[in-house]
């Protein structure tokens, strides 16, 4: 939340600093902030944070269960440990992550509002007008598609890394680091391809 508020604030200031021409109306600043936040910053930056926090803990948790034989214990009882442990994590991520991104986007827009109006860059009316100007609802859909894809990628990659850990505590640490790096790479690639395919 803190991160996303500052994200909006900084985007506002920088866009403002770059738009010095008197021919460009001020409300374009908040218009740009909206586009950037919804389309790119909120889903992607949050995905990186989510991978770092949730992805690593998923991989760490499953890795620990693997090396302490908790997964074997489930299998001996005839439980399919992969679906028993991993499926709920993927479902929870796909449900929760979009909500997280919506909250983040709202925070970012409010952060932009606060900084933009406090520094006198633009008036509240201009900011709100810019936010609503030429609004394309498809971008929201697109952003949501992104969040589903990212959530799926982070949770499956992290679970996979954790589930197939071999060795001891050291390897659990490695698995959880790998979960984060692999997830982030996957997010950036997916981000590119989704933009290419859907816009």
């Amino acid at each position: 939340m803190l991160v996303s508020t500052f994200m909006g604030a900084v985007t506002t200031l920088q866009t403002g600093a770059n738009l010095v021409s008197p021919f460009v109306p001020r409300f374009i600043i908040s218009n740009v902030v909206r586009e950037m936040t919804i389309l790119e910053l909120a889903p992607t930056i949050m995905a990186v944070i989510y991978a770092g926090k949730v992805g690593s803990s998923m991989a760490g948790g499953l890795g620990t269960m693997r090396i302490t034989e908790q997964i074997d214990a489930l299998e001996v009882m005839g439980i399919n440990a992969a679906s028993y442990l991993v499926l709920p994590k993927i479902v929870a991520s796909i449900l929760m992550y979009p909500l997280l991104v919506i909250v983040a986007a709202v925070c970012a827009l409010m952060g932009g509002y606060l900084v933009g109006t406090l520094t006198g860059l633009l008036t509240p009316t201009e900011y709100v007008y810019g936010i609503r100007y030429a609004f394309n609802p498809y971008f929201i859909t697109f952003a949501l598609i992104k969040t589903f894809v990212f959530a799926f990628l982070i949770s499956t990659i992290s679970s996979f890394k954790g589930y197939y850990t071999q060795g001891g505590a050291l390897e659990v640490g490695i698995a959880s680091t790998q979960a984060v790096t692999s997830s982030i790479i996957a997010i950036l690639l997916a981000d590119y391809f989704l933009a290419y395919l859907l816009i």
Partner: protein, 250 residues
């Protein structure tokens, strides 16, 4: 009774088990012994189906487990209890939930019946009043006891223990060993214990299978152990002075 026939297993190009056969008897503690890295755990995992052997089959009282269909496999699994090396308790569940877990997934007992059964098993392994404790809050010996309680909660016909006293002090080790042996006799279970601990071997080895580099070199009871005449077994058994002086006397 469990019968294993010609079990072998390799990982990539490294052969870990080279055709092991043998019988594990009902109502007895059957030991699989050998030094670290000889494939004891791999053999145990092949028997319970956690690892698919490359060749060979396992029979649980004449039922071929290796080639069983899904239904028979899950029937046999219901009769298996397993104690893992570190206890393998689920960290997110407390003691009571851990012990109850097999009942939750394998039976249709009512909550009251389950609690009663769980308390009976916890009492049997000498643990009372720790139902609500988390695994991280109890000692290594207690974790093993909880692991045993979880392994026997669904009245298994077969009990498997991988290094039940690794990481325990000698006194606690003996208590755990005796507990396993008592439970085996009391409930007439086919128990298989993997160990490299000589105290256990001598204490509870009613039937012993000695593994060396993936081969079964000897089998017999703890009384015959010191007269085996197998050099590798002698090297394994008589590693310390006390043991050697025992042999000289004998």
């Amino acid at each position: 009774m469990i019968k294993i026939k010609d079990i072998s297993k390799s990982f990539s190009d490294k052969q870990v088990l080279a055709g092991i056969s043998g019988e594990l008897e009902k109502g007895k503690t059957n030991l699989i012994i050998g030094s670290s890295g000889t494939g004891k755990s791999v053999l145990l995992k092949c028997i319970v189906g956690l690892i698919q052997p490359d060749t060979g089959s396992v029979f649980f009282d004449l039922r071929n487990f290796t080639e069983a269909d899904k239904e028979m496999k899950s029937d046999i699994r219901r009769e298996i209890g397993m104690l893992f090396q570190g206890g393998a308790l689920f960290d997110s569940k407390n003691v009571q939930e851990n012990v109850m877990f097999p009942l939750d997934i394998l039976t249709k007992m009512s909550p009251a019946e389950k609690i009663e059964r769980v308390n009976f098993c916890l009492k049997r392994v000498g643990l009372e009043g720790v139902n609500k404790k988390m695994p991280s809050e109890i000692s290594g010996g207690m974790k093993k006891r909880v692991g045993i309680a979880r392994a026997i909660v669904n009245n298994p016909n077969y009990l498997f223990c991988d290094e039940p006293n690794s990481g325990l002090d000698p006194q606690t080790s003996i208590l755990i060993d005796e507990l396993i042996m008592e439970i085996t006799h009391e409930f007439d279970i086919t128990t298989v214990v993997v160990t490299h601990d000589m105290n256990s071997v001598l204490g509870i080895g009613e039937k012993i299978m000695f593994l060396y580099k993936g081969n079964k070199l000897w089998e017999g009871s703890n009384n015959d152990l010191i007269h085996s005449g197998v050099k590798e077994l002698d090297d394994f058994v008589f590693t310390n002075k006390v043991m050697r002086s025992l042999k000289d006397k004998a």
